[in-house]
Amino acid sequence: MTDITASDAARVRRVDVTSSAAKARIRARYRREARFKLYGLAALSLAAVFVVVLIGDVLSRGLPAFWQYSLVLDVHVDPAAVSSGGKVDEASIRSADFYPLTKAALESMFPGELSRKAQKQLVRLVSTDAAMPLRDELVANPSLVGTTVKTPLILSATSDLYYKGAGTQIESREMRGIATPSGTSGEITVLSSANDFADALVHLKQRIAEQARSLRSEADRLELFAGDTVTARVKALRDEAEKLQQRVDQPKVEEELDNKMPSLLIAIDGGLMKITKLSDVSATGIVLLPLRSTDEAKPGTWQLVTYETPESNRKVTDQDVAFLERFKQLGHVEQSFNWTFLTAGDSREPELAGIRGALVGTALTLVVTLVLCLPIGVMAAIYLEEFAPKGRLTDIIEVNINNLAAVPSIVFGLLGLAVFLNFFGMPRSAPLVGGITLGLLVLPTIIIASRAALKAVPPSIKEAALGVGASHQQAIFHHVLPLAMPGIMTGTIIGMAHALGETAPLLMIGMIAFIVDIPHGFTDAATVLPVQIYLWSDLPEVAFKSKTAAAIIVLLMFLFVMNGAAIWLRKRFERRW
């Protein structure tokens, strides 16, 4: 070692922590680090917001579909209706027509004369298969035949939605005069001793004026922004507004109501009348619910009822609302968990549609996928990782496995269509074919995950086994594979979750068909959850919108459970070495 000379000492570079440049450098570094942390936080919170919005939206739409309103009525089971050839057995009950029984039970709720139209509408409030719970009850307990059974009737999707809040706001105002109805059914006139109707008429004119104003402003808006392209529409709007304005201005004593305005009704003597003509002193209209009598109604015992949403803007007619409100008043409406959704197959009627068929189809398909993929995938991974001679051929295979994992899934669907359906002639829409197709899709994922898991086992374990005289194969199967198993399982479950959510390849092999029956085997026609969601999301009925969201919830639950299982397996069997 030579001594450090003065010139050497001058050349020694040392960090000068006191200089302002160094301080600036440190500040800049802190700023960079803080900025980086901020970016990460921002990204994370953005992702969290998206997730919360997505899940919240799905839940708020889907959860109502898990509950269903039904109409609990006493239904008299006429033995004649459910027997065939004088005998009552399971087959005769299953094939019986329950329509007359439910119709009778519904009509018994409304003593008095109902118009034919009203009768038809009453029956349409319940589902086409409203008596399904009754039928099941009778099959389970045939001794109930001939008695009167208290049973829930499934409501139609529209009625169900009405109770879930998709109806109209209802206002009710007590009247001050003494009212006299002219009849109990059909078209009647109600006279009042006070100026109740004059007040109502003023209200009505205000509403009409309001409507005219909104029409005019709509016309102005259109003219301003769309210009000449909508002249006809603007003219129509202005004409309509003008007509309404005339109605307001004219000191006419009688006003006609139409379905573009809120509906006005009179609840009197236990009945309900829909007003069609309103004047200062009288109201003329059609009876929706028959009156008990034509008795005079004292002040405070009769009401003017307003359905705020115009009839043309809602799915339920005034008659429907009248019936449904009456059922609710009498306490016949019950809400219960919608088991039908989980136990029934698909249906064209939203209230009868369920996801059991899709669930069973999914399970069958995934079983085929798993049985096919796990052994082949794991064996391929073991061979490639541990036994295959390293060479050009192995390299080509390896590259192609990685490529396969990136092939668009629709291509696998086309392959399934061309090979399994057209060449091998396998059944269309079957879980067998779906499972094999998804198997092809998932296989690369499983091979790659398994190879990574095998590679992650430290070589010292294998050496230890070889050192005590285990053969190569014994070392792999006794020591390396068990240690790689959690990783392989995790990869497999993630692959299966991928398969669970896959739609595109299944469309190609016909699993998109409308299938009502629940599949019983691998070759039955079936559909799977994501395809069911796709099918339902395409339907126009409002009720299917919430069914779609509910099916998404079920699918997400499945995914959560599967991914949870993957995490649990990893934690449970993870070993340190």
């Binding site: 430290p458 050496e463 230890a464 005590v468 005289g469 285990a470 070495w577």
Partner: protein, 273 residues
């Protein structure tokens, strides 16, 4: 170069004769090892006596571990590795194509640099070898093998109450002794140790060294070590490797007190390495 190596080989034989070595347990003749194109070992010839400790010393990368791994053919697992020459155990050529390599490894146990117990119970760690080689016929038999192996490895007293606990949960020194117990459970003739104490603290090292001294009564032990003190303490014979060649081999006391080769002298006096 070649004549030099021949001269060394002669010297080795001479030294063996001087030590009264009649039939060596392990005998290597002109062993060469190639990793692809690279020649890692050059014409190594050595005789190793039974029931004693032979230590290989030398600087890093000198080929001592490579040579050790030739003796139980562990190098077979490296695809690009090629071995020429002849190694015999009890006059049987271990590179004979008819010889089953698994059988060979049952006769030649190995303890690695880093303790590598299987992530299984202590009992399973020791029982694995006897089980796959069919050394036991009953549970009681196996229990006895496990107990005696752990006793020989000086571990029985510490673990007899927790045989079902994981082998990876023990301290490093205990793990290494477990690995020794695992190696001797199949009753090998030769035990190879590849720097068995390099990952251990001095106390654990002392225990392993005691154990080696105990085991040499029954086994032929070959140990690779970086610590010359350790070689001096535990071995009866020492071989010095340098740059892929066996420079000098002889009784340990002679190597350390009176080395014949300049390189050996430089190494043991700390000039290089």
């Amino acid at each position: 170069m070649h004549t030099l190596v021949d001269k060394h080989a002669d010297a080795v034989v001479h030294a063996n004769l001087a030590a009264g070595l009649s039939t060596p347990k392990v005998s290597a003749k002109d062993v060469n090892v190639y990793y692809g194109e690279k020649r890692a070992l050059m014409d190594v010839s050595v005789d190793i006596p039974d029931r004693g400790v032979m230590s290989f010393i030398g600087p890093s990368g000198c080929g001592k571990s490579t040579f050790l791994r030739c003796i139980n053919r562990m190098n077979d697992t490296i695809p690009i590795c090629r071995v020429t020459g002849k190694i015999t155990i009890d006059n049987q050529d271990i590179y004979d194509p008819k010889l089953d390599v698994v059988q060979l490894r049952a006769r030649v146990g190995m303890v690695f640099q880093k303790p590598n117990p299987f992530p299984k119970s202590i009992y399973e760690n020791v029982a694995y070898g006897p089980r796959i080689h069919g050394l036991s016929h009953s549970k009681a038999d196996l229990d006895e093998i496990v107990q005696s192996s752990l006793e020989k490895a000086g571990l029985w007293k510490e673990v007899k109450d927790r045989l079902n606990e994981s082998g990876t949960g023990m301290s490093g020194g205990q793990q290494q002794r477990l690995c020794i117990a695992r190696a001797i459970a199949v009753n090998p003739e030769v035990i190879l140790m590849d720097e068995p104490c390099s990952a251990l603290d001095p106390i654990a090292t002392a225990r392993i060294e005691e154990l080696i001294d105990e085991l040499r009564k029954n086994f032929c032990i070959i140990i690779v070590t970086h610590s010359m003190q350790q070689a001096a303490r535990v071995s009866q014979r020492t071989a010095f490797f340098h740059l892929g060649t066996l420079v000098e081999e002889g009784p340990t006391t002679e190597i350390f007190t009176n080395p014949k080769d300049k390189r050996t002298q430089d190494y043991i006096t700390g000039r290089f390495g």
